[in-house]
Each structure stands twice: as C-alpha cells, then as structure tokens.
C-alpha cells in the first residue's frame, strides 16, 4: 500500500471543476460493498461501546460517587472504585486488541482479495 496518487485524482488536485467524474467500478462490486458494510458496523459498534462505558463511568462519578466508595471487602481499605478504575484501563486495551485482531485477519484478507482481483 504505497502512497500513490491515482491518475483521476492527480489530474483533479488543482484542476478544473467541470470535469466529468468516472466512478470507480469497485463501488458496484458486492465484495467491496460487503466489506464496507461489515467494517463500518464493527467500527461504529465498538465506538459506541467505548463511549457508553466511559460516559457511564463519568456520570456515575457525577451523580452517585458513593457507589464507587464502598469497600470491596469490609475491613480493608480498597474500594470498588479501584478495581473499576484499573478495569477501565484493561477494558480500553481489550477493545483495541479486539479491533486489531479482527482487522488484521478478516478485513486485511478481504482488502487484499479485492485489490488483487481488481488488478488482474
């Protein structure tokens, strides 16, 4: 995946405005459409999950801070806030890892299939 500027675009970079646009034939390729749909659903789902968990945490702090201040075990100083706080680090990393694994396998394969198919 080198940084090459496609011909249709290089011409348009600083050029005319009334040039007819040739749309890329891949847009009608069902494999490409399936890739875009699946990938965007996956990305946005993970985004919504991350935002929901983060803002749930922040709003708990704003409205019900006492929930996080209860001790995990009576008689010991560690409160629920500590494992939940450190758990947020772990959760964030886990979401990132989940995305990377799926993108490295499923999506990269789909991309290279479409690219190679297109070049033949």
């Amino acid at each position: 995946m080198e940084h090459t500027v496609p011909a249709y675009q290089a011409a348009s970079r600083h050029g005319a405005t009334d040039r007819p646009i040739t749309t890329n034939p891949l847009l009608d390729d069902p494999r490409f459409q399936a890739l875009v749909r699946s990938r965007r659903t996956f990305s946005w789902t993970l985004t919504v999950i991350m935002l929901a968990v983060y803002f749930a945490f922040i709003l708990t702090l704003a409205f019900e801070p006492a929930l996080l201040g209860r001790p995990v075990t009576q008689g010991y100083p560690t409160t629920w806030g500590i494992p939940i706080g450190f758990g947020m680090f772990v959760f964030t990393f886990a979401l990132v890892a989940l995305y990377v694994v799926r993108a490295n396998t499923t999506y990269d394969r789909a991309v290279s299939e479409i690219r190679n198919g297109d070049l033949q």
Partner: protein
Amino acid sequence: MRRLSASFISFSLLLTALPAWAASPPTLSRGHNPIAIGMFLLFVASTLFITRWAARKNNSVADHYAAGGKITAFQNGWAIAGDYMSAASLLGISALVFTSGYDGLIYSIGFLASWPIILFLIAEPLRNLGRYTLADLVSHRLQQRPIRAFAASSSIVIVLLYLVSQMVGAGKLVELLFGFNYTVAVVIVGVLMVVYVFFGGMLATTWIQIIKAALLLAGSAFMAFMVLERFGFSLNALFSQAILAHPKHLAIMSPGGLVSDPVSAVSLGLALIFGTAGLPHILMRFFTVGNVKAARKSILYATGIVGVGYALIIIIGFGTIALVATDARYHTSSGAVIGGANMVAIHLAHAVGGNIFLGFICAVAFSTILAVVAGLTLAGSSAISHDLFANVMRRGTASDHEEMRVSRATTLVLGVLAILLGIAFEKQNIAFIVSLTFSIAASSNFPVILLSIYWRGLTTRGAVIGGSLGLATAVVLTILSPTVWVQVLGHAHAIYPYEYPALFSMIVAFAGIFFFSVTDRSTHALQERALYGNQLVDCELGMMKQG
C-alpha cells in the same frame, strides 16, 4: 464554583507541567542539583547525537515529515506513548492523587479512552488517504485551497497554544528542578527543539520520543516497585498507610467531587476523547509507518504502554501520600510541600532512590517536554510548508527542495515565536490554554475529519464555515467561562457558567457543517459529493493506480 476551578487547574496540570507554582518558592531547596544537571546534559548529548545521525537520512520531504514511512509499528507505538505522556502525566497525575486521592485515576482514564476512538474511526482512513498532514485527508475530494487553508490554520492555532503552555511549563519546571533562570530555560528548550526538527526532521523527533517514553516508563516502574516493596507488595497495606497519612483519610479512596457538575463533566470527557483525535502532532504519527496494518498495531502498543504507565503513576501517587506527606525533609518550616504539589513525585524519587535517582527523574521530566515541543514544532511547520506553501500558494507545483526549505525556515520562525511567547506569558495565568487547545481540536479539526470520511454530503463550504464556527465558539466560550472571565479578567460573574466549552462548541461545529453543506448547491458541491464513492474505495482499500 471554587471546587470547579480547582478541578480545572488539576486538569491543566495533567496535560502540561503548569501553574500552582505561582505562590511557591522559586527553586527546590536543593538549589543547583549537580547530578540532575549531569543526567540532563547526558540526555541532551545523546539526543544531539541522534539528530546528527537522523540528519544524514533526512533528504526529502517524505523523510522530513514522515521519516520516509520507515518507522516500525512497535517503534511508533512507543513514540505515540511518548507524545502522549508528557512531564505532566507523571508530575500532574501524581500531584492530583497526592491532593485528592482517587480523583487522579479519573483523568488518566479519560486520556486513555481517546485511543480506541482514534483507532476505530480515524487512523486507517487517515493513513490510506493522507500523506503528511491531516489536510491531505480532508482535501481528498474537497477543494484544495480553501480546505487546506482552513485545516492548516486551525492546526497552527492548536500548535501555537499547545507550545505556549509547554514553554511556560518547561521554564517553570527547569527553574525549579535545575535552578536555572526562567528565561534561560525557555531559550534552551526553544533552541534544542529547533535543532532537532531543523536537522533531524521526523526521524530524530521520533527517536527522541521513543527514548523519552522508555525512560519515563522505566523510571515510573522503578518508583512504583520501590513503593510497593516498602509495603510488602500489598496494595491494601499501601492504601492503609496513605489513609493514615492523608488529612482527608478514608475519603481519598472514593471519588471526591472533582467531577461534580454533569455539563462540565461531559464537556471535559468530550474534549479529552475527541480533542486528541484532532491534534495535528498526534495524527502526524500515523504517516511515519509503512502501511495501515502498522498504523493499527502502533495504537495497540501505544495503548498498552500508556495504560501501564498510568497504572504505575497511580501507584506512585498513593506512594507520595504514604511516604512524602509525612516526611519533614520534603516540607518547608511552615508545613507546605517544597516546590508545591507538582513536585511530590520528584520528592518520592529521592525518598525511594536517593540523589542519583532524583537526578534521573528530573532529567526524565525535562526530556519529556523537549520531545513534546519537537513534535509540535514539526506538526506546525508541516502545516505551513506542505499545506499553505506547497498546496495553497503554489497549487502543488513547488519542488521537494523548495518545500523543504520553507519547512526549515518555518521551524526557525516557530522556535523564535515559542521562545518569545514563553517569555511573554511567564507571569500570566494560562491554565485555560491547555483545555482550550483540546476543545478547539475537538470542535474544528475533529468534526471536519470525521465527516469527510463518513458523510457523503460534506462540502467545502460546510467544512470551512462549520469548522471555523466550532473553533470560534470554543474560543469565545472559554473567554466567557469562569476560568478566564472571572479569574483572569477579574469580572465578578462568568457569562458562560461551565468550565469547558466542548459540549456546546462541538454541537455548533457539527450543526454548522451540516447546515452549510446541505444548503450548498454549487457545482463544486455536486462534484464533491459525487467524488465520495471514489474516496471510499481509496479509504477502504488504500490508494492504487487506476486502469
């Protein structure tokens, strides 16, 4: 309101080594610290050596802006972590834990949460559609000159504001740690950052980030280990001692109301999460690796490194309560912490590792600032040379050689500007600048980037007007907020009652972009929407030659 402004200042501390020193003595009682200065000189010498090595490989704009795309995912992960964990991460978060306990954890979570969002939504399209700057991405199907002028301008505003806050923080920190004069410290920082960027470009900047991140993590790990060792590796024992030592006792184990007002809390969260996705020096890092897969993996490494770093810093923070708060050596005769709360991690370094480790941590704190300002300078100069000069002024006809010359000249100008602004703002209360930077990034660059990738209907007019409205709203609301209107300008009541503008300025930006795009009936607009399909192919598959 008092509590709100307290939380505001803490927030600023996290992002840059900033104020709260105003009322404290100008230097640590140790004065000139020879070991610290020795370690600092060692660090500077090795960075200059790296710069000399990098300068030999710095032969084209691709090298200068993006290290020729030859950085590996693992290296880039460390460099991103280096960009993101400033001196303030160590000093600011541990200071926040020292004063309020649990609350320190809340902020570090917000910082980390921005990375998944960047990965899921921005990083891969950016890498596939752009070359050197974020303007490359947004101008893919929009009109080159207006959209690049907009993206470059908002990037330069962000870079300059961030630079001011870092320069002032650096000056105060160096004054405190090494006993240099403030102006001398600012000039040293300015000169070094120009040398790194001017000669070594992105390659030197990247390696300085990597080394600094490794030093910071190693230093933090050693400190956290020594703290835990004192308490038999029992968190409960550490917490028990901290509860005994802290004036608030048990309250340090639960949220203390730093985040008390929901509107400010949500605004802060939005600025933290989405602001990072609009910071030019962060986004630029994705162009330094060879392909999309490496960009993706570098975020995985970075999230792991930053997450571990923050976890260590939280332990260090509780360590400062347990070990520094009760130790008379680190307090003035009146009972205040020497150098202010921001210095507690430095004192802890002395408590667990003696003078040599203290010197090491001082040098690390300084090196983190140098690395961050170098990254900022590179981002700022590329916005001017690549976007404004090569593409707006010369319409893409400038030669590699010319673009490189302009980039270097801009680096010099930015260096001089940063030094002058750093000196000018020495005595100013600039706590608002850091949050303003993040709010602007979240309300100008971020909405335009996001919609250019995901919304077919975006037009140049919508992006430029909406993005500018978002930027202006962030600035105006910050000026009208308690932190500036009351604390800086001295009015009795704030016109805008909340601390952070992001919630409203982001709504203005998105609404503005939407309205001015859908009502755009120009031929340009028709063409821009029609080009979305082709952009989508490049965005998903990476660019390839047609035909």
